[in-house]
C-alpha cells in the first residue's frame, strides 16, 4: 500500500491553471504516492479573509475542515493558500475551542507541495529534465510566513538540463496581493513591471514559482510587455521529462 496524498488544488489552479494540479499529481505518483482528489473541495477562503470579511471566510474554512477531515497528507500547489490554512484559520475560530482544536489538527496535515516533497516524501530528485534557463520567484507568503526559501531551489537544482539564475530582487513582491491587484491596479502593475525587469536581466526563459497567483500576475505583465519569457509552476517544471 503506497502512502496517500490528498490534493487541495486551490480554486485558482482548478479554474485557471488545471495543468498545475495534473502535474502535481503526476510528480507525486512518479515518486510512489497514491493521490486522491475530493471534488467537494473549493477554496481556502483567503479572498474574503484578506478583504476583511471574516464571517464569510470562516464559513468557507468550515467547509474546508469538513472536506479534509480524514485526509492524512493534504498537498497544496500554493504557499499562499497553505499559509491561509496553517497561519490564519486559527484566527477565524479564536473563540470556538472545538473548532480550534480541529484547525490545529489540520495545520499539521497541510503541506505546501515543495515542502511535502522534501520533508515528507524525502525526495530531492524527482527525475525531471528541462532544457533552459530558469529563475525562481519567491512568493511572499511562502517565503515570509512558511519560511520556504531553499527548498524549491534545491528541487530545481536536481532537474537535468536546467540552469537556475537568481534575480537581484527574487524576494520582492510581484504585486499581485489578491484584490489589491484590481483595487490598486496601477500600483500593482508598477510592482509587476519592476519585477519583470529583474527577471529579464537574468536572461531566463522561464520564471518558476510555487504560487500560480504570482505567476498569473507575472505572466500577465510579461505578456503585456511582449517579452519572450514564460511562467511555470514548480509542479509543471518537475513534471517535465
Amino acid at each position: 500500500m503506497p502512502n496517500r496524498a490528498s490534493l487541495f488544488v486551490t480554486c485558482i489552479v482548478d479554474q485557471l491553471f488545471p495543468n498545475v494540479g495534473i502535474s502535481m499529481a503526476s510528480v507525486l505518483e512518479r515518486i510512489g504516492w497514491a493521490v486522491d482528489f475530493n471534488p467537494a473541495q473549493t477554496c481556502c477562503g483567503q479572498p474574503a479573509f484578506n478583504s476583511g470579511y471574516r464571517q464569510e471566510a470562516r464559513s468557507v474554512a468550515v467547509h474546508f475542515l469538513d472536506v479534509f477531515r480524514d485526509a492524512e497528507y493534504i498537498v497544496v500547489p500554493s504557499g499562499s493558500c497553505t499559509s491561509m490554512i496553517t497561519h490564519h484559520f486559527a484566527e477565524l475560530f479564536a473563540s470556538e475551542p472545538s473548532r480550534l482544536e480541529e484547525v490545529h489538527s489540520l495545520e499539521k496535515r497541510v503541506w505546501e507541495f515543495s515542502r511535502f516533497l522534501l520533508e515528507v516524501a524525502k525526495v530531492e530528485d524527482v527525475g525531471a529534465s528541462f532544457g533552459g534557463i530558469a529563475t525562481y520567484h519567491d512568493s511572499c507568503h511562502a517565503l515570509r510566513e512558511l519560511k520556504i526559501k531553499s527548498g524549491p531551489r534545491l528541487l530545481l537544482s536536481k532537474v537535468k538540463g536546467l540552469e537556475l539564475r537568481e534575480m537581484d530582487i527574487a524576494e520582492e513582491c510581484c504585486g499581485f496581493g489578491g484584490t489589491f491587484s484590481v483595487k490598486f491596479a496601477e500600483v500593482s502593475g508598477g510592482m509587476a513591471r519592476t519585477k519583470i525587469q529583474s527577471i529579464q536581466k537574468t536572461g531566463a526563459s522561464v520564471v518558476v514559482s510555487i504560487d500560480s497567483s504570482c505567476l498569473m500576475q507575472l505572466q500577465g505583465a510579461l505578456h503585456r510587455a511582449k517579452l519572450p519569457v514564460r511562467t511555470m509552476h514548480l509542479a509543471e517544471l518537475l513534471a517535465s521529462r
Binding site: G21, F180, G220
Partner: protein, 471 residues
C-alpha cells in the same frame, strides 16, 4: 473604494523622475541596512530584535508606571515633565513659556512627533518663529511640504529642486552642488542657533530610570538645538519610554542599522535635565513634553498595542514595494509607509481613510525588517476587518458585501462552484490566448482594473476537476 484614494498616487506613479528618486533613495537605504546587519558584523541581530520586542511589550504593558518614574527622575534633575493631550496643548504650553521668558526665536531639530502635532504651523500662527535645522527638514520647511519619509524627509527632492527652493526663499544665486548647498544652510542656521531662545528636539527614547531623553542624529543640529539656547524642550510620544539606560544599547544597535545602516549615528545625545552646577554650558531650563494625541486609544487591545513599539527607523518604508511606488505624500498623515498604514487608522478611526489598510499586497517585507518585530501585516488584516465592519454598520459598500457573501455561499456548495466554472469555460473566450481586452460580458470593474495593467489568462477549457474525472 477606488474613487476615494488620493490622486497623489496616480501623479506619483506618472512622474518618472520622482519614481527614480524614490526607488534609488530607498534602494540605497535597503543596501546599507543589509550590509550593517550581516551575520559577521551583528551575529545576535535576531536576538536583539526579540529582546527589543519583549522590552517594548513590557514597557507599554506597564506604561503608567514608567511615565510616573520618568516624571520623578526628570524633576530630580531639575527639569519638568508636561503631559499634553494634543497639539493645541503643546502649542499653548510653549507659547505661554515663550511669553513669560520673552522668547522670540525657536530652533528645532528633526522630530516626527512635532510634525504630527503641526507644531510649527501652530507656533507661527502666534508669530513665534520656529526654524527647522535638520538639513532635510529645513529644505521641506522652506518648500512648505510635509516630510516624505520618516528618516529622510527630502527623499523625493533632487539637488535641482533644492537649488530652486534656496534661490526663491533665501534670495541667493542658484547653486546646484550639494556640498555648497549644505554650507549655505549651515551659515544661515548657525546664526539661528546662536540667536535662538528656545530649542525644541524630539526624543528617540525616553529613559525612565534616568529621567533622560536620547536624541540620535548625524548633523549636530540636535546637539546645538538642545545645548545652545537657554531653554530645551523635548517633545515625545508617551510610547517612547524604555525602562533603563542599560536597555539603550539594544535599541541603538537596532535603530541606526535599520534606518541608515550605521552601527551608531554621528551623534547620540543622552540628556537629563538642564545644566548642572559646575558644568560650563548647556540649557538653563529643561522640559519634557509627553503627548498622547491618540496613543491611549491603541492600548486597550493587546494585539493592537504593538503598534506603539515603533522606534521610527523607517526600514518598513524602504522595504515596502507599495511605498516605493506611491511615495510618502500619498499617505494621509505624516507617518507614511506600512507603519503609517497601521497607526493612521488607529489614531484617526478607520472611517477616515478606509482605503489605507487595503493599499498593501500583504507581502510582509515590513514585518521581516521591523527591528521591534511589529506584525504589520496582521494588523493590516485586522484593520481591514474593522473597515468592513464599520461599513456594514453604516450601511455602505453593500455591493461588495453581497459579492463576498455570494463568494462564501458558492464556496460552500461545490456543485454550484463546479457549474460556475463550467459556464465560464463554455461562454468564455476560446483559443487559450491571454486576453488584453475584455469581452462585453466580462466588462466589469475588477476585470477592467486587471486589464489596465496586464493581460488576463483565459478560463481553462476544462477545469482540474473535469480533467481529473476524465483521467
Amino acid at each position: 473604494m477606488a474613487a476615494t484614494h488620493p490622486e497623489k498616487i496616480a501623479t506619483t506613479l506618472a512622474d518618472a523622475n520622482l519614481q527614480l528618486a524614490i526607488y534609488a533613495g530607498t534602494g540605497r537605504l535597503i543596501d546599507h541596512r543589509k550590509n550593517a546587519i550581516a551575520g559577521d558584523l551583528l551575529p545576535d541581530y535576531q536576538d536583539l530584535r526579540t529582546y527589543a520586542n519583549e522590552l517594548k511589550k513590557h514597557t507599554i504593558d506597564n506604561l503608567d508606571y514608567y511615565l510616573e518614574q520618568v516624571e520623578a527622575n526628570v524633576a530630580a534633575h531639575g527639569g519638568k515633565v508636561v503631559f499634553c493631550n494634543d497639539g493645541v496643548e503643546v502649542a499653548d504650553f510653549i507659547l505661554s513659556l515663550a511669553k513669560v521668558r520673552g522668547a522670540k526665536l525657536i530652533v528645532k531639530s528633526k522630530s516626527m512627533t512635532t510634525e504630527e502635532l503641526d507644531l510649527n504651523e501652530r507656533l507661527e500662527h502666534h508669530h513665534l518663529e520656529a526654524v527647522e535645522t535638520d538639513l532635510g527638514e529645513y529644505i521641506i520647511q522652506l518648500a512648505g511640504v510635509k516630510p516624505y519619509h520618516i528618516v529622510a524627509p527630502a527623499l523625493h527632492m533632487t539637488r535641482y529642486d533644492v537649488a530652486d527652493i534656496f534661490t526663491e526663499k533665501l534670495g541667493i544665486e542658484r547653486e546646484v552642488v550639494p556640498e555648497k548647498q549644505t554650507m549655505i544652510a549651515r551659515a544661515v542656521l548657525r546664526q539661528k542657533f546662536l540667536a535662538a531662545d528656545i530649542g525644541i528636539t524630539g526624543a528617540n527614547f525616553v529613559v525612565a530610570d534616568s529621567g533622560a531623553v536620547v536624541v540620535v542624529e548625524n548633523e549636530g543640529n540636535a546637539r546645538l538645538t538642545s545645548s545652545a539656547p537657554k531653554i530645551h524642550i523635548a517633545v515625545a510620544g508617551i510610547e517612547k519610554l524604555i525602562p533603563r539606560a542599560q536597555d539603550l544599547s539594544v535599541f541603538l544597535k537596532l535603530l541606526g542599522r535599520s534606518a541608515t545602516g550605521q552601527p551608531l549615528t554621528s551623534y547620540t545625545s543622552f540628556l537629563s535635565g538642564p545644566r548642572r552646577e559646575g558644568e560650563v554650558d548647556g540649557p538653563e531650563e529643561f522640559y519634557l513634553i509627553l503627548i498622547d494625541n491618540g496613543r491611549t486609544k491603541l492600548l486597550a487591545d493587546p494585539e493592537r498595542r504593538q503598534s506603539l513599539y515603533c522606534i521610527r527607523c523607517g526600514a518598513c518604508l524602504n522595504h515596502c514595494p507599495v511605498y516605493r511606488k506611491i511615495g510618502g505624500h500619498s499617505y494621509p498623515w505624516v507617518y507614511s509607509g506600512p507603519i503609517g498604514a497601521i497607526i493612521t487608522p488607529q489614531f484617526h478611526g478607520v472611517a477616515k481613510d478606509p482605503w489605507l489598510p487595503f493599499a498593501s499586497s500583504l507581502c510582509g517585507a515590513c514585518a521581516e525588517v521591523c527591528p521591534v518585530k511589529i506584525d504589520i501585516p496582521k494588523l493590516l488584516l485586522d484593520l481591514r476587518a474593522d473597515v468592513t465592519a464599520d461599513k456594514k454598520a453604516h450601511g455602505s459598500s453593500k455591493l461588495e458585501r453581497f459579492a463576498f457573501q455570494t463568494f462564501a455561499w458558492v464556496m460552500r456548495h461545490p456543485r454550484v462552484y463546479a457549474l460556475g466554472g463550467r459556464l465560464a469555460a463554455m461562454f468564455g473566450p476560446k483559443g487559450g490566448e491571454w486576453l488584453s481586452t475584455a469581452p462585453w460580458f466580462m466588462n466589469v470593474a475588477p476585470v477592467r482594473g486587471w486589464l489596465s495593467q496586464r493581460d488576463l489568462p483565459p478560463p481553462a477549457a476544462k477545469s482540474f476537476r473535469q480533467l481529473w474525472k476524465e483521467r
